[in-house]
């Protein structure tokens, strides 16, 4: 099934996508970076968007797969429960924010606040991520093949991050932990699966990634850590 967005209201497009999912794959033409495309998809099935999307694409989703062949605006896949969202180019601020599960793959770069407050799921970024990625991450895994921006992994709970490039600056309570064999295996299999063999070969070797987790100093208040708290707040 094919839906051309030109001349259609966003609700009409989304109704069409939901109806089309029942019968398999839906192709979306001329998205023109419009907002709220393919949101709240609550059943399995694949949506292929031939172009760029605006804000909140793939948000509030449970179980579907959305492939975006251009870039994405703010709030990509926000609060996704399960499913998969892939972006061929770049993603805007707050991609995969507060996801509870599923997989978000960004082949280009992610802007600020990637995966903030994520509560599960997997994020794979082929390029770099910008300011404050992983802030207050509670669960889940974030893999960045390129460089991470400032305040990386600030004030996290139990999200685990892996960075293949340089880290501009670690956030409050973020610490680097040695890579275990399991970590190397997880990074390797995730990159192979989600970037493909050919692209994976262009990225750093899995053992060269650095693992960033919470130092747990902010988990419970203690007077001894007063300085850290002052800084964090």
């Amino acid at each position: 099934m094919t839906i051309d967005c030109r001349g259609k209201q966003i609700r009409e497009i989304n109704r069409g996508i939901r109806a089309g999912l029942a019968s398999g794959e839906v192709e979306v033409l001329n998205p023109d970076a419009r907002h709220n495309l393919a949101v709240a998809l609550l059943q399995p099935g694949a949506v292929r968007i031939r172009g760029s999307v605006g804000y909140y694409c793939g948000g509030l989703m449970d179980g579907a797969t959305v492939h975006i062949e251009g870039s994405a605006g703010w709030g990509l896949a926000e609060s996704m429960l399960s499913g998969m969202v892939t972006v061929r180019r770049n993603a805007g601020n707050g991609a995969a924010a507060a996801i509870r599960g599923g997989t978000v793959v960004i082949h280009g770069n992610a802007a600020s606040r990637l995966g903030v407050s994520m509560k599960g799921g997997l994020i794979v970024v082929g390029g770099n991520c910008d300011y404050m990625a992983g802030f207050m991450g509670q669960k889940g895994v974030m893999i960045i093949c390129g460089d991470a921006g400032e305040a990386f992994a600030d004030s996290m709970y139990s999200t685990v991050c892996y960075v293949g490039g340089r880290i501009a600056d670690l956030g409050n309570d973020a610490v680097i932990e040695p890579m275990s064999d399991d970590d190397v295996a997880l990074v390797e299999s995730s990159l192979r699966t989600h970037l493909g063999e050919a692209v994976r070969a262009t990225k750093p070797a899995a053992h060269a990634f650095r693992k960033v987790v919470a130092g747990k100093k902010l988990w419970n208040f203690s007077h001894r850590d007063w300085k850290t708290w002052q800084e964090a707040l």
């Binding site: 251009g70 605006g73 703010w74 601020n93 802007a111 910008d130 921006g149």
Partner: protein, 300 residues
């Protein structure tokens, strides 16, 4: 919320007319700012004249057109025309722009020189981008680069003077648009006022024009002045600036406000949202979100 947009044609052939591109971008951003719309467009520079655009009243000339025309003629003015609440005319560039501005603005408190320079033309008013086009014929405007704004007012009144873009009064051809809040605005404004700088509005964005104007007059490049904003201005800002030769932007250190750009061999386009760029410019090109403290300047 507000919407900002900028466009620079790199081919020199203007395959997409400047006015049409900037207007299309603003229309795509219209829902981000329904209060007012405006553009600051750079035409082919005319070194021999200053082009002035003067606000006569809020929506009409309010009977002040004749007085402004008389002042213009005394300064060897030519090409005098009025449109909506505006007068537009040129004077030879040997005329003292500061003295002329002071004389015009002494006619009545409502009168304000909205733009002046060898290439800059600002058109702005309360209402939608479509109404702006109907009033000023923005779509037909030809030039090399320019910026635009759709406003959702959050801190000061909605009228023509408080609309954006802002001309940096006294600094020919320099104009800005801004999405965000300048939180040390009052402090900066007091400091400038103590030095005799006049503020025309209570819009915090105006201080950006004042700041950049002062830096450029001191001999700084546009890039250096935009970098300076990261040190001297607090708050959230995605800001675009244009001079007769350049288009540039700066994004605040916390990336509070959106700003994306696309750079190809043919053009540079910058906007609050990608939808603005895609709806105005066809083609297969990448769009990138600006990073924290990003400063970029392109010249024609």
């Amino acid at each position: 919320m507000c919407g900002i947009a900028g466009y620079l044609d790199r081919t020199g052939e203007a395959p997409y007319p400047l006015g049409e591109v900037v207007l299309s971008m603003l229309q795509a951003l219209g829902c981000r700012g329904p209060d007012s719309a405006g553009v600051a467009l750079q035409a082919a520079p005319r070194p021999d004249v200053w082009t002035l655009r003067v606000k006569l009243g809020e929506t009409t000339d309010e009977g002040r057109g004749d007085q402004v025309r008389a002042v213009a003629l005394r300064h060897r003015g030519a090409e005098y025309s009025t449109r909506s609440a505006y007068a537009r005319f040129t004077v030879p560039s040997s005329e003292d722009l500061a003295a002329l501005t002071a004389e015009l603005e002494a006619i009545a408190p409502q009168i304000e020189v909205l733009s002046a320079g060898h290439s800059l033309e600002i058109a702005k008013q309360v209402g939608s981008p479509a109404n702006l086009d109907a009033a000023f014929g923005v779509r037909a405007f030809r030039g090399s680069h320019g910026i635009g704004h759709t406003r959702l007012s959050t801190e000061s009144r909605v009228d023509l003077s408080h609309s954006q873009p802002f001309w940096a009064h006294g600094c020919p051809d320099l104009a800005i648009v801004h999405n965000g809040h300048i939180t040390n605005y009052h402090q900066l404004r007091r400091r400038y006022q103590q030095r005799g700088v006049r503020f025309y509005t209570e819009n915090d964005s105006e201080v950006i024009a004042v700041y950049l104007g002062e830096r450029l007059r001191r001999g700084d490049s546009l890039a250096a002045a935009l970098h300076g904003m990261l040190e001297d201005l607090d708050g959230s800002f995605s800001c675009l600036a244009t001079t007769s030769r350049a288009l540039g932007f700066v994004k605040d250190p916390y990336a509070f406000k959106p700003l994306v750009y696309a750079e190809t061999e043919r053009f540079v386009a910058v906007a609050t949202e990608e939808v603005a760029i895609r709806s105005a410019l066809p083609g297969d090109y990448a769009v990138v979100e600006a990073s924290v403290r990003d400063v970029r300047v392109w010249t024609v």
